[in-house]
Symmetry: C2
Subunit: 797 residues, 2 copies
């Protein structure tokens, strides 16, 4: 039965997806309200579809280009298999599908939430969180389903469905990396493009609508208002979904790679009831179980009282969240104890092989769960309404926009202190527990509740939209009050969700980084070599420049939106009186086009730099392992700097936002109550303008940048490092032909070893094919003797 465990994650994913489908049907069956509401909702739905369709066109071109590039590489480089192309396409497709489903349900749920808010707050929560649940389970279910299916397929294709050796498993996982690369590429479009979209629409709508024309937010007379509402879905729902889809897949993949290296460190094979691949299966099993746990968690989120306030709603969400995390901890204990050998050997750099008990791996998963929660709390502290940092920014607003900005920047910067110390402690302790396998499993445990996190996260923008629809369709004030309660809670969960997304991206990148080093077979990354140090500098710079490009992109796109809104106000007769109809679709089109155009340059930067670092020195004949080390330095630079700028920008942006919102209820400055419309409030609004691209565009983009950089590294790794004979498992049963290639010094070597036994004697036939500068040279050698003798010969070969 245990050998069937490989199929369990698929089953669990399908259960999750079935539950999602039931929930989806339930949400769609809810009343979608009257004419005006429906009309607005349809506009938003169509706007969202318009963005998705435009995105898909661009995506299709991108996927074709990358597929061709991957195919060429896989034919030229013998260590890369062409199936990586298929994996890549499906990774992209699954991520896009998850985003599509999520966005559709979110834009269908919003109006139903407004309608439910007419009856009661518990109903409104039920509907909006139901929509979030569909999104969360859809993303997590598809991620696990896709990754597991491809793993099983490759496992059968390359290994015949049973353990052969770590080298073959490496090839399986290298090919599987294509799936992850596909998923993360979509995230680049969804998160960066979506981030530009949402802020361009928001800023454009506000600048002309609120400031110039003096009409309130979400006013239907504003032509950009639909684009603004679409933006919430594009950025916060689809963007966040694709981001976490990518993290989820990459984390599990990286943990599997490192699990394979645990097997290698244990002598190349282990004897367990899971066909000898327990350490590789474990991350998938945790991910699969996480879906069911998240499902249970979402069921716990409900309130009963119609008079509930933010606190009760928050508590309901927290109960669901904490129960899921506790269940993950228990599950990890059970799975680790069941699936891993009681003690393992792991190689620690510079410390040699250590004996690691499986309970230490469990310890690492607990670290992951704690750090995930702690980073969310830190984020909440630095960006939460009523917390000290926010109150300080509010005070500094009284002396003008300049001091408000300085205070916000300083808050974001100081927030890196506890966050980075937490990371450092997490890296160190999970590594001390169980090496880089421990780091990767810490990330896996943290990501296990992804579906729950996404449900909590997606319900925010749904409620925000619901409020917008209530406003635009001129509902009773009580409706808006109820949606506002949900929206306000949604703002808090958005902040903590961002903390979770950063933490997951950071741990994922570290796991990918570790997988990269093991794939290339380099002896670590020594920054005392000047080229490596130089690349560490370059890597550190890229997130800074990326952020600037993203911010400038928002500025440019917003300016186009401003021009269009001004034009409509000028040219459409009766628009301000409500008799002329604004051309919403024009604004949607501008946001769509501008965002996809403007994401090109930062996207090119992300993809171009690692490729340039890998291939330009290769052209100049540099040693491949030296290049691999340089690229590793670059990846480390991007990760360290990217995590810092992600925390800085997200928290500064969140802090400015809530400092501005503090004025709604009134704040005490120099002993005087100060409200909206005061000079201090105006200063706070300026701060929020700066914070908007920080928290919704450049900040969250950092997650994608660091993950995609490390993933590209991982995909390039086999080209740079190739495999060495160390990877081959000389077991007695090993009589097949094994292809071993070594690409050091730009020479292609192919070694075929056929080991057989003739009586007592072991016979190894070795055929070495060397391709250097286009010339092929073949040597055949035969070794005979006892098994030990032959193995020694092979080692010395």
């Amino acid at each position: 039965m245990e050998s069937m465990i490989i199929y369990a994650p698929i089953v669990l994913a399908i259960i999750g997806l079935l539950y999602m489908w039931i929930k989806r049907s339930w949400v769609l069956k809810q009343d979608a309200g009257d004419g005006k509401m429906k009309e607005i909702s349809d506009h938003i739905y169509e706007g969202a579809l318009a963005f998705l369709n435009a995105e898909y066109k661009l995506l299709a071109i991108f996927v074709v280009i990358v597929s061709v590039a991957l195919a060429v590489v896989s034919f030229v480089v013998p260590t890369t298999h062409w199936l990586i192309v298929i994996a890549f396409i499906f990774g992209a497709f699954f991520s896009a599908l998850a985003g599509n489903m999520g966005m559709k349900i979110a834009t269908k749920t919003n109006v139903r939430t407004t309608q439910a808010a007419k009856t009661s707050l518990p109903n409104a929560l039920k509907v909006s969180f139901g929509g979030g649940t569909v999104m969360g389970l859809g993303v997590a279910g598809l991620a696990v389903l896709g990754l597991t299916s491809f793993f099983i397929f490759f496992f059968w294709y390359f290994m015949g469905g049973e353990w052969t050796n770590t080298l073959d498993m490496t090839i399986v996982l290298e090919t599987l990396a294509g799936f992850s690369l596909g998923a993360e590429s979509i995230a680049l479009f969804a998160r960066v493009g979506g981030g530009i979209y949402t802020k361009a629409a928001d800023v454009g709508a506000d600048l002309v609508g609120k400031v110039e024309a003096g009409i309130p937010e979400d006013d239907p007379r504003n032509p950009a208002t639909i684009a603004d509402n679409v933006g919430d879905n594009v950025g916060d729902v689809a963007g966040m979904g694709a981001d976490l889809f990518g993290s989820y897949v990459a984390t599990v993949l990286a943990a599997m790679v490192l699990g394979n290296y645990v097997i290698k460190d244990m002598g190349g094979s282990i004897d367990d009831v899971f066909g000898g691949i327990g350490p590789v299966l474990l991350p998938m099993a945790i991910a699969g179980a996480g879906i069911i746990i998240s499902m249970i968690g979402t069921m716990l989120v409900k309130i009963s009282s119609n008079d509930a306030k933010e606190d009760q709603v928050m508590r309901a969400l927290n109960i669901g969240n904490w129960v899921s995390i506790a269940l993950v901890a228990i599950t990890c204990y059970v799975l680790v104890k069941w699936m891993l050998p009681a003690t393992m050997q792991m190689e620690f750099f510079g410390e040699g092989i250590k004996e690691i008990s499986s309970m230490r791996v469990f310890g690492a998963t607990i670290i992951g769960l704690i750090v995930g929660g702690a980073i969310s709390s830190v984020t909440e502290y630095y960006t939460g309404l009523g917390k000290k940092p926010i109150l300080k920014i509010v005070q500094q607003s009284s002396t003008g926009a300049g001091t408000n900005i300085i205070a916000g920047l300083a808050t974001g910067m100081i927030s890196t202190f506890p966050s980075v110390l937490l990371f450092a402690a997490a890296i160190w302790s999970s590594y001390a527990f169980a090496g880089f396998y421990g780091v990767a499993l810490a990330a896996s445990a943290m990501m296990a509740t992804t579906a729950m996190q996404l449900a909590i996260d997606a319900f925010g923008p749904i409620s925000d939209n619901a409020g917008g629809i209530a406003e635009m369709s001129e509902q009773e004030p009580i409706v808006r009050e109820r949606t506002d309660i949900l929206d306000s809670v949604g703002n808090t969960t958005a902040a903590t969700g961002k903390g979770f997304a950063i933490a997951s991206a950071a741990l994922t990148s570290l796991a990918l980084f570790a997988a990269y080093v093991t794939f290339t077979g380099i002896e670590g990354i020594n920054i005392f070599k000047a080229p490596v140090l130089a690349m560490l500098f370059v890597g550190g710079m890229v997130p800074v420049v990326f952020s600037a490009l993203a911010m400038n992109a928002v500025g440019k796109a917003a300016m186009e939106m401003v021009q269009e809104v001004r034009r409509q106000f000028r040219e459409i007769p009766g628009i301000m009186e409500g008799t002329g109809k604004p051309q919403y679709d024009k604004c949607v089109a501008i946001s769509t086009e501008a965002s996809l155009r403007e994401m090109m340059l930062p996207g090119l930067l992300t993809i171009g730099f690692p490729l340039a670092i890998a291939f330009i020195p290769m052209i100049f004949g540099m040693n491949n392992l030296a290049i691999a080390e340089m690229l590793g330095g670059y990846m480390a630079g991007v990760t360290v700097s990217g995590v810092l700028w992600a925390i800085f920008q997200n928290n500064a942006g969140g802090a400015w936002d809530n400092a501005k919102k503090s004025f709604e209820a009134g704040v005490l400055i120099d002993g005087e109550m100060t409200y909206k419309g005061s000079d201090a409030h105006k200063a706070a609004v300026t701060g929020d303008t700066v914070g908007d691209p920080f928290k919704d565009t450049s900040g969250p983009s950092m997650n994608i940048l660091i993950k995609l950089t490390c993933l590209i590294g991982l995909v390039i790794a086999p080209i740079l490092g190739g495999h060495t004979l160390d990877d081959v498992n000389y077991s007695a049963e090993n009589t097949e032909i094994i292809n071993v290639t070594d690409l050091e010094n730009s020479v292609t070597k192919e070694v075929e070893i056929r080991m057989t036994t003739e009586g007592d004697e072991t016979v190894a036939e070795v055929r070495i094919t060397t391709i250097e500068n286009g010339k092929t040279d073949v040597k055949v050698k035969t070794y005979r003797g006892t098994k030990a003798e032959v193995e020694a010969e092979l080692e010395n070969m």
Copy 2:
């Protein structure tokens, strides 16, 4: 004659100091103007002295504490010599002396410049640049004099004035590191404290004076105006001086350390006409020659026409600068060819020993000169009036402070792109030319013109002050016009000077980093070890938090100033009518106290983190070499992140400043000329408020942070790494007793080796003293045989 070259830098430094003294007398002989002017100038002079005196009190306490700590360490740890304490105290004293001289002459020159401006512009330039020259030559002369004298003293003390072996030279240089640490500690006070001072006074004076009371800048009725003018001297003159003093000393020291390792790689001794220490002497020789070259350069700076404009003044400065740089290039060629062996062996990490011709070392110095110039140009492009980035910020000001801020931030961020690529190229190419010795000599060559750079740099704030005095003493408009021309040029040179300071700090840190690795004897810094990676993260975070603390410090200090100015306006009768006299000294005292108090926390962060990383794991019994690697990871993190944040903050700040200044002459926005007082200008003023602490406090502080971090690492290095037997030079002449200690695994080992020859036989008596947990164990062994046999035995010991 060549063996006397060791004294040449002292002679050159004394020539420079003599010329400085002549120039100083000339400046002081100039007319100091009439009563009112003299009175204001005296106020500024006294304010500056007040700050210096307060700073010295704090400094004295700091120096005593650090001295005691160093003394304790030097008695406990056998690898550290107590003379490091003396070197530390003198390093601090020399730096403080240089700052004192510079600040005094600057505050004396300002009023003389105003007076000279009454006659003609060429005279005004002559006087103000004369003051700058005194400052520049004083700093450079004292730096070279102090460092060289101490080197010669230690060279005689530890080595008897002639080459023994690389181990002894290592001890000489480790002790000399105390001088550099002392100098950099003063820089912490001068640059960080000074940075807080100058902005607190500036913001305080502006907020109440300009904004609330509506009186112009530099108005004598404003009680904070003297503090503001003192601040220019404290921050821009003394701060910059101490910063470059520290860089100068540290660069030369690091290059000497790496020169010693060149000798080690060449077998432990070389045969040259400089007593076998050519590679160690070279950096000092370049520094000494640089003083004379700078002297010549300053003589070339003059204009003849009284109708000259900014361009002509700029050209005069550029001629002086370029000629100096060209002369340094020629001098480097001559010195490298003369002082280095024609070919050297250098060990490259992972590549083994390489043959390096001395011309490749010359190549590295050229890299340094090019990069120094290129980074200054990049800085000028991103912050220069009329350049594209500034025009863009100006345009973005029309839509409000928010967009202005975003544009400024983005400009600073994007400016890291060319700067970091230049650095990366410099690291890589100078390393490719001549290993880390090449990197250090690139820095040395760049720093050779320090005196010239400082002269150009110091003349700016002198002219700024001169303008202030003209305003306060109500001179004819022509006087202010002339000083304004000088001031405007000074603003440009201030920006490029900051670029130079960052570039020098970055290269200095890299050289120190390399020296650190060689001192500890670790096998490089492998960031694939999780604790090292964790420290890379922590190191990356520290500059961000440091910057935030510095910014907050300015905010707090400025608020105190605001309260005081408000109080004086309220309580002193007739102050606004010019009949009541403002209490300037109170404001000066507030700036002084606040700045020195507020620099404590960032200072503690800077010093505390490396100490904690080194000593906390030591208490827990961690392997010393593992700690050394962790600390190296931390240093790399601080350097990479610090350089990024230095460039980002300096350039963003400079860009905002000049965007604001653009409005003085009027700018074209949307086809309309826009001037001071417009809404767009107000937005630009807000941007400048944010930029002020960026460019004058937190940005420049990064230089000190990264250098001091690496220097602390260097001073701790002998404690962590100790020396290994590799350092011992087994030459035939080597019959003395050599103390070798090894501190790995927290065990103190002392190995005495006495090598003698008895007839044909070589005899080595080895006495190994091991101290473990307080118990002492002594073993004595004797090896006999041929020299090769004995050496082999010793190696295997």
